[in-house]
Symmetry: C2
Subunit: 186 residues, 2 copies
């Protein structure tokens, strides 16, 4: 991720305290100095970072996971994804999550881009990869993870985006990169 600094826009950290510590989420409350010299508070969810993988099969179709997402109360179509373990290299995490969630092993994992999901209140970054040269092995999700695997052609996927059947942000970001990038270079 490129960091852009620009004096007329930057905020400077003055102080930081912990507001909440859960099993998954940690809320920090920071005091910052605004470009006009005034102080303001920022509430931030700390996140370890994550990866998302767009798996492309030999025939060009794309693999998605279907998973119930409790916070939004619906089953979603998403690219396989997961959080980084402490100190884990994103590409290692991508290979691990792809294998755990879908059972596919990839001969090639190409970094597409790294995105910020909700920069207003979390530091979460998701590193996005395209996975090709896929070989099906066994899916091995955690005992309490419930995931269906589905595959669609690029044309079907476009239709699903336009009809709001696919509406997960990281998934749409990966698809944008896929559709506008030069696939012949892969």
């Amino acid at each position: 991720m490129k960091k852009i600094q620009q004096a007329n826009l930057d905020e400077i950290s003055i102080a930081s305290r912990v507001g909440f510590t859960g099993k998954l989420l940690k809320v920090k409350i920071d005091t910052v100095k605004l470009p006009n010299g005034k102080m303001a508070e920022r509430e931030i969810i700390n996140h370890p970072g994550a990866v998302g993988i767009l798996p492309i099969l030999e025939d060009g179709s794309m693999v998605f996971v279907k998973q119930y997402r409790y916070p939004v109360g619906t089953v979603l179509y998403e690219i396989p994804a997961g959080k980084l373990d402490a100190g884990e290299d994103p590409v290692v995490c991508a290979a691990r999550e792809l294998s755990e969630e879908t059972g596919y092993r990839a001969r090639k994992l190409r970094h597409m881009t790294s995105i910020v999901t909700t920069p207003g209140f979390t530091d979460e970054i998701i590193h996005l990869y395209m996975a090709t040269g896929l070989k099906q092995e066994a899916q091995h999700t955690d005992e309490d993870e419930f995931i269906d695997i589905v595959a669609f052609s690029p044309e079907q996927v476009k239709k699903m985006v336009l009809e709001e059947d696919i509406f997960d942000a990281k998934t749409l970001a990966a698809l944008l990169f896929y559709y506008i990038s030069d696939k012949t270079v892969n």
Copy 2:
């Protein structure tokens, strides 16, 4: 947003309590029943929902805001966006935020799609609009909001996505919809 229910994937809410209440963020801790009958806890950030607007000028170029985002420590290129006021219609919010952040008034606001940003831990939904028929009036941000306005051609924007200069998830989602949709229908 279409809600998909599927018995082998769904989680059912059993109990809910408040873990943290800040000025911006509220953390809920819910107990849920998994498809295998086991119980689990889910930590969720409650969010009022938001809108994002992709403004397209007469010559086809797109308008972005440059804004420092403290949680990720960098200035970002984003589409204009903002939170819904209580009870506010998303399209009204879109017109308001577009005007406040960029000074543009739109003759036409077309709903593209509505996305979930981080379905693992927040209920945030962002309604995405394409704004056309733009007329420049005066930008009128809040006193403590610092925003630069920039515009790029669709080809420049593609390059900026591929080179990781644009990496905000809602912005990439709006761009995907723009590039794959039939612009002649607009």
